[in-house]
Each structure stands twice: as C-alpha cells, then as structure tokens.
C-alpha cells in the first residue's frame, strides 16, 4: 500500500501509473518545465552542477536523467574546466618546437572531456528517447551513454561512480530506501550523492502562494500545453507527499552516507541534498 499523489494505491499500481505519466509527458517535458517554473529550473540545475564542481575524469551516474539536462550541463562544465587546464599548460610551455605544439593540439581534440563520462539511467523509454534525440540535436556524443534501468535495482557494478545525481526523480521512485541503497552501492568510496528535488516551504506566506500556484495554475498549464491535466495534478500532489528536508536527510543517512547536508533553494521550494560514501 502506497500513494500516487493523494490517492492510495498498491506498489505495482503506483509504478505503472508513474510510468504512464512520464510516457505521456515525455515530448513536452522540457517545455512544461520552462513554463511551470518560468525557466528557473535551469538555474536550479546549474547550481547542482556547480555544487558538484566536477573535474575532468569524473564518472557521473545520472539517475532518472531522462531528457539529459544534468548530463549536458556536466559535459559543458568539464569541457570548460578542461579547456582552462590545457590553456594553463600551454602558458607554461613557452619554448616548444612546432612538432610539440601541433601534437598538443591533437591531444586536445581527442580528450576534450579529459576522460569524463556520464551514464544516464532512466526507467522510462520515452524519456530516454527524447533525451537521446536532444543529445544528437545539440551535438553531445562523446562521454555520454544511455541505459534503461530501475533506480531501485541498478544494473551497475559496485564502487564504480564518482558522483550519483538524481534530479527531480527520487520523488517518483516507489521504494526510495532501495534507491538510496543502490546509490550507495554503485558509488566509489569517497563518492558523492547529490539529489535535487522539490521540498517543503516553511515560510507560511510563501507556502500559501506556492500552494495556490501549484494547484490552480500548474494543472491548467499542463492541460493547455501538454493536453494532460492529470499528470500535472499528480506532479504537484507528489511534491506534497515527498518527505521534508530533515526527514529525507535521515533517510539518506540510513543508507550509509556521511556528512549528509542540504541546501534550500528559493526558500525550500527546491532543495539539494548531498552525502558522501566514505
């Protein structure tokens, strides 16, 4: 027995309903994100990747990564860090021969990401399809791969990844405890868990405005833009059902993570939780 938004359903029903929600919204997912959050979701995701501060050579597992927003930002970030690294290197080598200079340029081209890699894992075929198309369209190919998998039962070996991210996805997982355990398992010792998710607003005035906006505006946007009121009704209900910051922090600690902390964005509308596997 579990919940689907404000309804009570069995676990199996919940999984199926959630699958159908994302199957239905996949093609309009990005457009809806922009409309609902007035583009602010982009800033939240930027903040997440900046907090991650990945260096070239980092292995990222982005779970529930569907349309690729975090993956693309990760690639952009390590690419620019890498460029700066190479520029610094060249600055120190002032007496190079022509041979050495041309060799260094060739090296640049083949390692523009410096061996960084991101694996995007999602349970929903449609979301992955949209993500892959987006990647092709935007020109992302190196260091990026896609896997259809379940966050509660990851098809990855132990101690493999430097960072595990899940952005606006863990709310839709049916057994959050299992997903957290799997996150712990696949991270290398020293690896970092980062979760970006809608959370709870404690400020009473903002809370009232936020509720008003969520329940009056968002489903209407969903109907007008994506032709799907119910999916967006589910979305706003699922946000209310998700545990608040401190409770979620405790769940992450239960999975074995250390130095668990969270950072509220926009007064708690969104929070980034972070933990380390030591």
């Amino acid at each position: 027995e579990t919940h689907f938004g404000f309804q009570t359903v069995t676990e199996a029903e919940r999984r199926e309903k959630i699958y159908k929600v994302f199957e239905s919204v996949a093609k309009k997912y990005d457009v809806m994100n922009d409309s609902m959050t007035l583009g602010i979701h982009r800033v939240w995701k930027d903040i997440l990747v900046h907090k991650m501060n990945p260096s070239p050579g980092t292995l990222l597992l982005d779970v529930a990564g569907g349309t690729g927003d975090i993956a693309f930002r990760f690639i952009n970030y390590v690419r620019s860090v890498r460029e700066r690294q190479l520029q610094q290197k060249l600055k120190h080598h002032q007496n190079l021969s022509w041979q050495e200079i041309s060799e260094s340029y060739q090296e640049d081209k083949s390692k523009s990401l410096g061996d960084s890699q991101v694996v995007v894992c999602d349970i929903n075929k449609e979301m992955l399809k949209v993500g892959k198309q987006k990647a092709q369209h935007l020109g992302y190919s190196e260091g990026l791969s896609w896997v259809l998998g379940n966050a509660e039962e990851l098809p990855f070996d132990d101690d493999k990844f430097d960072v595990y991210t899940i952005a606006f996805g863990i709310r839709n997982v049916t057994r959050i405890d299992l997903a957290l355990q799997e996150a712990y398992r696949v991270l290398k010792p020293g690896g970092r868990f980062l979760c970006l998710e809608f959370s709870h607003v404690s400020n009473p005035l903002l809370s009232r405005l936020y509720d008003l906006y969520s329940f009056q505006v968002i489903p209407v946007l969903g109907e007008v833009i994506a032709g799907d009121w119910k999916s967006y009704q589910y979305l706003v209900e699922s946000i209310r059902r998700f545990p608040p910051q401190e409770e979620f922090k405790a769940m992450i600690e239960d999975a074995g993570f250390f130095k668990v902390d969270y950072q509220n964005l926009n007064l708690g509308i969104v929070a980034i939780h972070s933990g380390f596997k030591l």
Partner: protein, 114 residues
C-alpha cells in the same frame, strides 16, 4: 511494459539470484529459438550497437554479475541465470521484466562459457 509471464519468471530469477542457483528448468514463455527476442518495436534496419564503454559498468540488475555481449542478437547475456537483455536503438534495456529467457543446450553453449 510488464509482460504477464515475465513477472512470474522475474520472481523466480530474483530468488535464484539471491539464494544461489537450484539448477531448475528455465520455465515457460520464450524459448531460445525465437530470434526476435523481446521484439518490442525494434528498428527494421541493422540494430544499433552498444556504446563500448558501457560494458565496463553494466552488470545484471538481479545478480549484479557480469554480462556477455552477444553481437548476433544484440543482447547482453547473463549466462548463470540464462537471461538476455535486449539493446534497442543502442540503449540497453536492463529492466528484468523485459529480459528474455535463453534456453541453453548444455553441450553447445556450455563450451562457450569463459
């Protein structure tokens, strides 16, 4: 997404994976002869191969044991449990319910085991 027989089969597989193999029969449903595998809307053209770097990380989600890439059928095979995960449009489908049972003939395939 969830196949009727697949669910029952998956439950059996989970028990094997956690409790150690009992060498029981491979059960109902798909035989190995059906070359189409899961055949869920796969492209009519040549199937897209898997990103090679992925093989470093991928394991069977049930048993967490290594997989073998079978180029002929474009699948990832778990020899121990006798299941094959399809690769569709270059994306490996690692959901246990979608996996296909492989019926193995001991003399022929047994020799292929690494």
């Amino acid at each position: 997404m969830l196949r009727g027989s697949g669910r029952g089969v998956t439950a059996v597989l989970r028990r094997w994976a956690s409790g150690g193999g009992q060498g029981q029969g491979q059960g109902q449903g798909q035989g190995s002869g059906s070359g189409s595998g899961s055949g869920s809307g796969s492209s009519s053209a040549r199937p897209q191969p898997l990103e090679p770097s992925l093989l470093r990380f991928l394991v069977c989600p049930l048993s967490k044991r290594p997989l073998r890439y079978e180029e002929a059928t474009n699948e990832l095979i778990n020899e121990e449990l006798g299941i094959a995960y399809p690769i569709i449009d270059g994306i490996p489908n690692m959901i246990p319910e979608a996996a296909r049972m492989t019926r193995k003939n001991p003399p022929a395939e047994g020799s292929k085991q690494p």
